[in-house]
């Protein structure tokens, strides 16, 4: 039963310094069949949570205070068993250009387009 559930319930860690977005994303992704196994509001706690919880996906805001999302994405994907990183921002992709293309990730979603379906579509394309 537990394993069967895991087969379609993907785990995800939500990293954003905006609590309201974390709450909304949690609600939306839970409704879309994701298991939100943790939240973090900055880079270091995101890395710690990822190491502890080993999520399948990380929804990562680019505009974190201090260490930004790009740096966190690089750190998250540095070792072998890396989670799949989906970057997000309330800015759109044009604001980031090359840095966005060069970061190791599944892809980028503007925040308003975050949904379980969109994340699965990115994973399917990858």
């Amino acid at each position: 039963m537990w394993r069967a559930t895991m087969a379609w319930m993907s785990t995800i860690l939500i990293v954003d310094d905006d609590a309201r977005f974390r709450a909304q994303a949690t609600a939306l992704l839970s409704a879309d069949g994701f298991t939100v196994i943790g939240e973090a509001d900055d880079g270091p706690s995101a890395l710690a949570a990822a190491a502890a919880l080993r999520p399948e996906y990380v929804l990562l805001d680019i505009g974190l205070a201090g260490v930004d999302g790009f740096a966190v994405a690089h750190a998250l994907t540095a070792d072998g068993e890396a989670p799949l990183v989906v970057l997000t921002s309330s800015r759109d992709a044009r604001a980031f250009g090359r840095r966005l293309r060069e970061v190791p990730s599944l892809g980028f979603l503007p925040k308003e387009q975050v949904s379980g379906a969109a994340i699965r579509a990115l994973a399917a394309d990858a």
Binding site: A31, D92, F96, G97, V114
Partner: protein, 541 residues
Amino acid sequence: MLPGWSYVACGFLLWAQRPANRLGPIMAGVGMLWLLGRAGQMSSVPVVWTAGIWLTDLWVTGLILFLLAFPTGRLRRGFDWVIVGMSLVVTVPLELLWLAFLDDGQGRNVVLVVVNDDAAHGVDRLQRILFTLGALLLVGSLARRWQRSTGPARRQTIPVLVGGFAILLQSVSWMVFSFGSASHVLDSSIRIALVAIPAAVLYVMAQARMARAGVADLVVELGQTPTPARLRDALANALGDPSLEVAYRADAGDTFVDSNGMAMELPALDSGRAVTMLERRGVPVAAIVHDAALLDDPGLMASVAGAVRLAVENDRLNAEVEAQLEEVRASRARIVEAGDRERRRVERDLHDGAQQRLVSLSLELRFARARLDEHADPALRQSLERAAGEAMAALAELRELALGIHPLVLTESGLSEAVESLADRSPVAVTVDVGDDRYPPDVEAAAYFVVSEALANVAKYARAASAAVRVRRDAGALVVEVSDDGVGGADARAGSGLRGLGDRVAVLDGTLEVVSPAGRGTTVTARIPIPSPSHVSVPAL
């Protein structure tokens, strides 16, 4: 007759040259007294003859006065008055006393009291002794003056010193004559010396005029931005006073410094040195310390002061304009920088505020729609979908606006990314050729806004099918070129957008050129110098 006339002529010349100076009238008077004395002696009218004999030597007193008063026209010391007084006593009352005992043998002497050759001879001897004494004092006084003066004043003393010696010789000659052996050689050398005085005075005046000519050279010399040292040398040359110094007023207070910035004491009034102040709006800014003799030509120092004032004023105006220009440059750079800072702030505020809220709103609407079950009111479902669509559209517009205000991609990923992004958004097909090099932020920002504004103009006015952006480094500058194949005819001065770009590029000492022949497209070329690394300042984002 020649000495008399030469004195009269020279006197009037001097008078005409320097009306305020008493020397002119004194010298003319000397000449006239000389002529009148000689003329009187030739008369057969007793009164005239008597007057001629009486006053025949008065001119010497005038000459002594002239020599002592040269060149200012005033006697400097009480001692000088003693010398003049002695001569006056000899030439007026004692001469009269002598006449009182003199028998001319023709009965022309109207002041004859009693004929007494011994008395006349005694008075005559007293006169000669007194006069010789006076002449010695005169030469002593003039020699002392010569010894104590320097530069132009010393040169000016030469003719009077010669004159003093001539008078001393005259008196010695009179003594010798009195004791019985007149010397013609001595007599004629005295004549020559006396005639030489007016010539020497004329020479000194010519020197003064040369000094004025020197001032004309000075004006030219000073026109070429004189350094303090050159200013001093030029002044010393023009005025023939090697001891001349220029003192500059220290910024604060009444102290003066020389051109090396060392404190400098202005000389006291009676020191033989004089100070000509250069004032600006009544406030002394500099002082020329020079030989007091230069003041004898009142026009001279005034014209020198004028020339220097002109130069100093020019210099000051230059410096002022330079400073103002520098200030304008700096303030323009500050304005651009403040503008950029403001743009970054507005973009961040949009992102942190309205953009976040619209994101939140969109998510909320989507969440609400997702929670509708299949039995829900279709109108409500549509309404929620429309609301979500509106929120998305608002968000898209806001992002467009934010991109226009401040291209985050420029600071995030550099110029080539930012230009690519501009090209993507342009309705005209744009080819982009920009290297991946990074440049100082202000250079990148200027280049970016050139491309942005130029592409906006292409879209608005050019009716072009395509455009090309080329950015390359060339000889220490970033060259940004945006060209299109449109209708041309753009005017850099007319469009405020292009002019604003020119200003923006000029802040970085760059240039903007617009070539836009009618019908043959437009090329906007900006050339922005890349400052050497030591000058790069990275503003906080």
